[in-house]
């Protein structure tokens, strides 16, 4: 399936992804509502985006006592707002800390119905929407080129 692929080394930490996420999904200018987050190592000035990886075996889904979290045939992991009781059991189970507990509900990245807004605002390509298989292939090629460069071939 297509996912948001993260290249942390390209992130400049501008938080435009968070800003558009909250505005698009919550209609609010409130970064605490964003489903994508930028982690910061302030002393080095470095940042990295964190977003739901749409796990094959989602710990959040397993943790949900009322089966409000579902994996769709496409692979997308979704929270059913109607069924969710807001217990936040999933929040503590997510190994990436990217289930977002809001005062009134729990939300997660659901890829904006196949058109993730955040990637449109990433000027450096630190987040991309695509097939991880192809992304990995690209990485192999670039590693190969790097190797060749080092060998001065």
């Amino acid at each position: 399936m297509k996912k948001i692929i993260v290249y942390p080394e390209k992130c400049t930490g501008c938080r435009l992804c968070e800003s558009i996420c909250s505005l698009y999904n919550e209609k609010k200018n409130d970064l605490s509502r964003a489903r994508i987050r930028t982690l910061k190592k302030h002393s080095l000035g470095l940042s990295a985006p964190v977003v739901c990886l749409q796990c094959k075996k989602p710990p959040c889904l397993k943790a949900c006592p009322v089966d409000a979290i579902k994996k769709e045939p496409s692979g997308l992991v979704r929270v059913d707002e109607e069924q969710c009781i807001g217990c936040e059991a999933c929040v503590s189970q997510c190994p990436f800390g990217i289930m977002i507990a809001l005062p009134e509900k729990v939300v997660k990245c659901e890829l904006c119905n196949g058109d993730p807004q955040c990637v449109k605002y990433c000027a450096t390509g630190a987040i991309e929407y695509g097939d991880p298989g192809i992304a990995i292939q690209k990485r192999r090629v670039s590693n190969m080129n790097l190797f060749l460069e080092e060998q001065e071939i």
């Binding site: 080394e9 400049t12 930490g13 501008c14 938080r15 435009l16 800003s19 558009i20 505005l23 698009y24 209609k27 609010k28 200018n29 409130d30 970064l31 605490s32 509502r33 910061k40 302030h42 002393s43 080095l44 000035g45 470095l46 940042s47 449109k120 605002y121 000027a123 450096t124």
Partner: protein
């Protein structure tokens, strides 16, 4: 919209007041409302380091919103560095987080009996002990407060050791690479025993039309990232200026004695910096341009030296101005200044000044304690340590050039002032001899220092035909940068763009200040409308810029400044020695005529004082009005 907090450090009390819509519509926010507060509340003639000097923090009207590059906030007070208008702007994430924490402006008065920092979160303001932070330098302080409060998403604006020791050009930093540097706002913080402000919040910024804001932002994002210059801007950041200055002969070399640095060599080039020393890039809030560099020295004697920057201010002033093109020297001086929390431009300006005095044998080792040869790495770093610690010869500079100059030359001090290029008491930050609209903007800049952030008509050096400038700014301007002809209007147009940009919290680097293809008044009106529902026309917005600038002018006049202070440094009357604009200088008689034209265009009298009609037209005739 968020209220303002009036914080009295003497009594540790807070009063929260809404900002009347009338004030919002007249001054927007950020620098605009800061100036309104400063003009209304600052008593004439007070000592900048007295508890009566208000210290005002203000986030822009659009700061923290989904508009592009809406990161910025202003800190304003009476300046201990210049004795005049103090105002400094910073990017990063502090401004947005201040708004998420529930406040748009902070008006801080009084003086705390012991060191404190403010912890502002979700509408609450706490006073906390700060004495234990004494052990830390500036970047360490930022981290220490985050760790102490237990949240890495907290944003902190802090002073460093220099601010705590009242070095008059101390800055306020809010990340390792973002500073409100000029005019000594960190010194004012230090004088109040206020060592830092930490902010964090989960309060949304009200947006009246989210759908419209998304459309406007998408359009502006494309506009910014598809401009021809975007690639270079995002790669080199402000260091772009270095290549231009070096090839065109606009370097402030040897304290502006030369306009090209001979000893720089090919190594002194942004490409070399990027390839050899850059390990990453850092952006401000909501900005696709990400101009800030992160550097690390990979090998050699200074291996491991690391930090954010340098910006052009470092390369041009620790570099060219101090007579060196050595990146390692520039980076080390840059990092040290940041660690002490001292303004880069003033620190470097003072070093270049004393190096020239040493070159001319006006001061010698009996007073300096060391040789001060141009570009001497050890002398430069030692001077910075001394300034930051108030020790030795460097410590003589910590109270500002005026006092140091008097200590060097006693009764004859006045005649030696020509060796330190200043405007309105601040060291200048650009050589504008060959660009007359910029020279005018620099001479009249309300915060002094020839400030390129108050008025710098960048299009002047782009060789644009008059039809093109007419399209961009409303009047044709000659493509000859050396001509005085019609240069008052573009200087004023740029002032207004800068004033409005600061009142909105938008960075210069995404506006027409940098390049005509970027955002301008038209785009600003669209974002303002989507966020606040206020309907401005570009003309109304330009008038708002004028209002802010005129209020700053009133401030200066009240403090005793007038036409005599709207001048370029004496040195700028000497011709440039090198480059294709060799021979360019500022001719006093022509400049005076241009100044007349500028005053007239502004609606000011011959002394540069706004006339009654001008103040009435701008709604300033009742100031100070104390509506807030």
């Amino acid at each position: 919209m968020n209220p303002i907090a009036f914080i009295d450090l003497s009594t540790q009390t807070v009063a929260v007041k809404p900002i009347p819509e009338e004030i919002r519509r007249l001054f927007l926010g950020g620098r605009g409302i800061n100036m309104y507060l400063l003009y209304n509340y600052l008593k004439e003639g007070i000592d900048p380091l007295s508890p009566e000097n208000p210290l005002i923090f203000g986030a822009g009207l659009l700061t923290g919103t989904h508009g592009m590059a809406t990161a910025r906030f202003n800190i304003s007070a009476k300046s201990p560095e210049s004795g005049n208008l103090g105002d400094s702007n910073s990017g990063g994430f502090f401004g947005p987080e201040l708004r998420f924490a529930g406040f748009d402006h902070l008006f801080i008065s009084g003086r705390s009996a012991s060191p404190v920092y403010l912890w502002i979160h979700d509408g609450e303001i706490e006073f906390r002990e700060a004495g234990h932070l004494k052990a830390y330098n500036l970047p360490q302080t930022l981290d220490a407060i985050r760790t102490e409060l237990g949240d890495q998403d907290i944003q902190v604006a802090s002073i460093g050791p220099a601010g705590r020791r009242l070095v008059v050009f101390a800055n306020v930093m809010c990340t390792i690479g973002d500073a409100a540097g000029r005019t000594g706002m960190g010194t004012v913080m230090g004088s109040k025993n206020l060592w830092a402000i930490a902010v964090r919040g989960k309060r949304p910024i009200e947006v009246v039309n989210p759908q419209r804001l998304m459309e406007v932002a998408a359009k502006q994002y494309r506009q910014i990232t598809q401009t021809k210059g975007y690639k270079a801007t995002s790669l080199y950041g402000t260091l772009m200026r270095l290549s231009i200055s070096r090839t065109q002969g606009q370097e402030p070399a040897h304290n502006y004695q030369d306009n090209m640095l001979e000893s720089g060599g090919e190594e002194f080039d942004p490409d070399v910096f990027v390839q050899k020393y850059e390990y990453g890039k850092m952006a401000c809030f909501n900005c696709p341009v990400h101009t800030k560099h992160l550097h690390r020295v990979p090998s050699g004697e200074h291996k491991g030296l690391s930090g954010a920057g340098p910006e052009y201010g470092g390369a041009g002033y620790f570099g060219s101005s101090c007579g060196t093109g050595d990146w390692v020297t520039i980076m080390e001086c840059w990092d040290l200044s940041n660690q002490y929390g001292m303004d880069i431009l003033t620190t470097a300006g003072y070093i270049a000044w004393v190096m020239e005095l040493y070159q001319r044998e006006l001061i010698d080792e009996s007073i300096t304690g060391m040789p001060l040869r141009w570009g001497d790495h050890d002398a430069m770093t030692k001077l910075i340590h001394q300034m930051g610690r108030r020790e030795g010869f460097g410590g003589m500079l910590s109270d500002g050039w005026q006092r140091a100059n008097r200590r060097f030359f006693g009764e004859r001090a006045k005649e030696y002032e020509r060796y330190i290029p200043t405007i309105k008491g601040m060291t200048v930050d650009q050589d504008t001899r060959g660009t007359k609209a910029m020279a005018l903007g620099a001479a009249t800049a309300t915060r002094g220092g020839g400030c390129h952030l108050r008025s710098r008509f960048t299009m002047e050096e782009m060789d644009l035909p008059p039809e093109a400038t007419k399209k961009f700014i409303g009047r044709p301007v000659t493509s000859d940068p050396d001509s005085y002809e019609g240069k008052a209007y573009p200087a004023i147009w740029t002032e207004n763009l800068c004033a409005v940009g600061d009142a909105l919290g938008i960075c210069r680097f995404v506006t027409k200040w940098l390049s005509p293809g970027l955002l301008g008044f038209n785009e600003f009106t669209e974002t303002i409308s989507a966020v606040t529902g206020y309907e401005f026309t570009p003309e109304k917005l330009i008038e708002t810029g004028e209002r802010i600038y005129n209020l700053e002018r009133l401030f200066l006049i009240r403090e005793g400044l007038d036409r005599k202070d709207d001048r370029v440094p004496e040195r700028f009357h000497e011709p440039w020695k090198y480059g294709f604009q060799k021979g360019s200088n500022i001719e006093q008689d022509k400049f005076e005529k241009l100044l007349d034209e500028y005053y007239q265009e502004h609606g000011w009298d011959k002394q540069g004082i706004p006339t009654r009609e001008t103040l009435e037209r701008l709604g300033l005739s009742e100031e100070p009005s104390h509506l807030l």
